[in-house]
């Protein structure tokens, strides 16, 4: 019964947010973009609205959070009541505040990590596809080897060796992710490098960097963006899995992945506290992928 009710409420919210998001975006968009938003499916407007909400929360975190990020305010596991609307965590910090700051840290880190993985992975992948031959063989064998090592264990080795500052965390997860991006970028680019316009650019005497940046990358964006959507979300999961192994983001920084881990045991007793950060991740994942799907659909539609 509760499940049914929450599904109904959820669907209702979905439509509400979707419609409201679409209307607001249409109103706010510059004139030449209006049509794009007008024909936007409900899923996409929902996704976009959620993403914008997250971004707003992330940017405004210090302004809207009722308390300080690491502030210990009282007893642990207080119930949901004012002034702690979502209760407190195991150290007596305000759960709502942690969630809000978590948006800032988690989304920021995930974005930085994914962006880095994509820059490195796609440039190398396209480069390999473009140049081919021994360079391609060398890079591909090396990436194959890295991919054959389980990601979690590989991250664990690297983090243990290099320490667990946020920077190394970003670098390590990005390095592991970049191998996946490399493979995708390479196979996509292999389809593009045979096009006449690439031949024309080569014959013109263009350099490698220009070929990658101006001729291939823009045309490889659609599948890369789709992958970006998923990879972006996998970063939260990586952080969460690493904190399962005792690595991850340093305290008192709030981060959803670690928050899920910290409170995970409670779900064993049916306490929904750990669902809050997990739900925040899931909502963002779904939202990001709704938007990505929409963009992909648009890209493929324009091609026809």
């Amino acid at each position: 019964m509760t499940i049914l009710l929450s599904i109904i409420v959820g669907l209702g919210l979905f439509f509400l947010v979707g419609f409201a998001g679409r209307t607001a975006l249409q109103a706010a968009a510059p004139a030449h973009h209006k049509p794009m938003f007008r024909e936007m499916p409900l899923t996409a407007s929902f996704g976009l609205a959620v993403i914008l909400f997250y971004v707003a929360v992330a940017i405004l975190a210090p302004a809207i959070a009722p308390f300080g990020e690491g502030e210990v305010l009282g007893a642990q596991y207080l119930p949901w009541a004012a002034p702690h609307y979502l209760g407190t965590d195991k150290l007596g910090r305000d759960m709502l505040t942690r969630l809000i700051y978590g948006a800032r840290n988690t989304v920021g880190i995930a974005f930085a990590t994914t962006a880095l993985a994509f820059v490195v992975g796609s440039v190398l992948g396209i480069w390999a596809a473009l140049v081919g031959g021994r360079l391609d063989q060398f890079l591909s064998r090396f990436v194959d080897a890295l991919m054959a090592i389980p990601a979690l264990i590989f991250s664990l080795l690297l983090l243990t060796i290099f320490g667990t500052s946020v920077l190394t965390l970003i670098l390590v997860i990005a390095a592991v992710d970049a191998t996946r991006v490399y493979r995708l970028a390479r196979s996509v680019a292999q389809g593009i490098v045979v096009m006449d316009y690439i031949e024309a650019a080569r014959l013109r005497g263009e350099g490698i960097w220009r070929l990658i940046r101006r001729e291939i990358l823009p045309n490889a964006m659609a599948p890369l963006v789709a992958e970006f959507g998923l990879r972006f979300c996998f970063v939260f999961l990586s952080i969460s899995a690493l904190s399962f192994l005792g690595l991850g983001i340093k305290p008192p920084t709030a981060d959803w992945g670690s928050m899920v881990r910290e409170n995970a045991t409670l779900i064993t007793f049916g306490d929904i506290t750990p669902l809050l950060p997990a739900g925040a991740i899931a909502l963002l994942t779904v939202a990001v992928n709704f938007v990505v799907d929409w963009q992909l659909h648009r890209a493929s539609g324009l091609k026809e």
Binding site: V72, A75, Q76, K90, L91, T164, K250, T265, L266, T268
Partner: protein, 520 residues
């Protein structure tokens, strides 16, 4: 996850497996909480789920270092001497022991005891078992115990150990879990044997996974080893352990996550056993270098956080506040009346000013490998210290390699000590100048002198005075923050019966739950 340094020694173990296990020691009920139990009953399969155990575990007693192998051993083997639940030494394979001068110790070996193989246990087996840990080529963790031992020999039914100096506490050493009596051939034991004189015979063992043992039908102790079969499982994930207990997959788990204790109790399917001992969590500061070389800085930090909050939040109340005192309430000479330190930012500020500063910034390195909740404890301290003008930057370091790279290498870090029944051992190991595990590198001449004097002091009252003075010195001049004593927290199925008094010496009733407990 534990790892001894000395008998009843500090236990520790750096590694990610402790992170996986999210260890949490804690305690709710006072030691030996009274419980009307029927007489022990024979029978049943006792299934234990422990947050310890690794595929690299082995039968080699020189390498035993955590709760799984320790408990596994207690089921299979016997020692010369047992520490009873009340902390007193009682005979096990040694019927009696005596020494005239504290240098030559004579252990009378029990007769009529057989190994699982049927071979009778003899003093020669005892000799070989002890000798395994002696000598340059020995790879035993307790090799240093035997440094003062000049000779061990068999004399009829006796084993005679000669030391190079008097040591009244030597029998305590012989109760150490590294020193089981194993069958020998030609003067040597096979360190990889599963054989022993204990109450259970190994049926199968997969290191890091499970062990199955059946009751030894010829066990020489009539009133022990009540279960028909014991199954020991390694369940590293705390939630998985809880689930295993709640779904009836196991009857006993250790290291209950403090956050879940109340929830678990409310389920009513199991009961919490919380045993207070002398185990304590510590934050040593390197006294050799600034800023910790100044005792005012150390005192400022000691007043700058809320001890009760740590007990409440890190241990969920399963422990008690410590006044920077490594000697616990279970010790004979515990100084309970010592002036208590409470959270007092003003006092902290005062001491800072005395040290010539108006604010202080330090980095505290912590990993949950040090103790479960170490990182959270550091965060809580950091939060409270801010009010005193002290900035504590919490540096969460990897669990893996913690004891190699951080402990005694970083100036301010988290650490953990198991309790010990004898004050002298605690102080000697970790607080005398130059001691190998003096983790704070604290050096105090008065303390060192007192410690030596107390060892030979026979007047109990004077001795008490001396030990209490030492406790005061460590507390108010020492370089170690000791916020709390942690209980051993276990959860058992309602059907499990325990003696009235559960040993505070080590976890799981001194590892002996396997032979002391029963199904009621």
């Amino acid at each position: 996850m534990t790892n001894t340094k000395f008998p009843h020694g500090m236990t520790r173990r750096g590694l990610l497996k402790s992170g996986m296990a999210m260890t949490a020691a804690g305690l709710i009920l006072p030691a030996g909480m009274a419980r009307a139990q029927a007489e022990p009953k024979r029978g049943g399969v006792f299934r234990i789920g422990l947050g310890h155990g690794s595929t690299t575990d082995s039968y080699d007693p020189g390498l035993w270092e955590q709760l799984y192998v320790q408990t596994f051993a207690a089921a299979r083997v016997n020692y010369l001497i047992e520490i009873a639940a009340d902390g007193n030494l009682v005979p096990e394979l040694a019927e009696s022991w005596e020494s005239a001068d504290g240098m030559t110790w004579v252990f009378k070996i029990r007769e009529g005891v057989s190994f699982h193989s049927g071979k009778p246990m003899t003093p020669d087996d005892v000799l070989a078992s002890l000798n395994f840990h002696r000598g340059d080529a020995s790879t035993s963790a307790v090799k240093p115990f035997f440094d003062p031992v000049t000779d061990i020999k068999v004399d009829g039914q006796n084993v005679v150990v000669t030391l190079n100096a008097a040591n009244a506490d030597f029998p305590y050493l012989m109760s150490d879990y590294h020193l089981p009596v194993l069958p020998s051939a030609e003067g040597k034991i096979d360190p990889n044997t599963s054989d022993g004189t204990g109450g259970y015979i190994v049926e199968s063992y997969e290191p890091g996974v499970q062990a199955t043992m059946n009751r030894n039908p010829n066990y020489w102790k009539a009133d022990r080893a009540h279960f028909d079969q014991i199954i020991m499982l390694t369940i590293l994930d705390p939630a998985a352990r809880l689930n295993a207990l709640m779904t009836g997959e196991v009857d006993l788990i250790d290291q209950v996550d403090p956050a879940s204790i109340a929830l678990l109790e409310s389920r009513g399917v199991s009961k919490i056993l919380s045993v207070s001992g002398n185990a304590h969590y510590v934050f040593p500061m390197d006294a050799r270098a600034a800023p910790f070389s100044d005792n005012h800085v150390r005192l400022a930090l000691k007043y700058a956080f809320d001890r009760q909050e740590l007990v409440d939040k890190i241990l969920a109340g399963h422990g008690s506040v410590s006044n920077d005192n490594p000697i616990g309430p279970a010790n004979r000479y515990f100084y309970a009346e010592m002036e208590a330190k409470t959270y007092d930012p003003d006092k902290a500020k005062f001491h800072l000013k005395e040290a010539g500063m108006d604010k202080l910034e330090v980095t505290l390195s912590a990993a949950n490998a040090a103790f479960s909740g170490a990182v959270d404890a550091a965060v809580l301290m950091s939060e409270k210290a801010a009010a005193a003008g002290i900035t504590i930057n919490v540096d969460r370091v990897p669990d893996d390699g913690y004891w190699d790279n951080v402990w005694m290498k970083k100036p301010f870090a988290a650490s953990y000590w198991g309790g010990r029944p004898v004050e002298d051992q605690m102080f000697t190991t970790a607080y005398t100048s130059g001691a190998e595990w003096n983790e704070s590198f604290w050096s105090n001449e008065a303390f060192d002198k007192l410690l030596v004097a107390a060892r030979s002091e026979l007047d109990d009252a004077k001795r008490r005075e001396m030990y209490q003075e030492m406790q005061r010195l460590v507390s108010f001049e020492g370089s170690t923050i000791i916020p709390m004593y942690n209980n051993y927290v276990m959860a058992v199925a309602n059907s499990v019966g325990t003696p009235e008094k559960i040993s505070a010496n080590w976890n799981l009733d001194g590892f002996r739950a396997v032979e002391r407990w029963w199904f009621s």
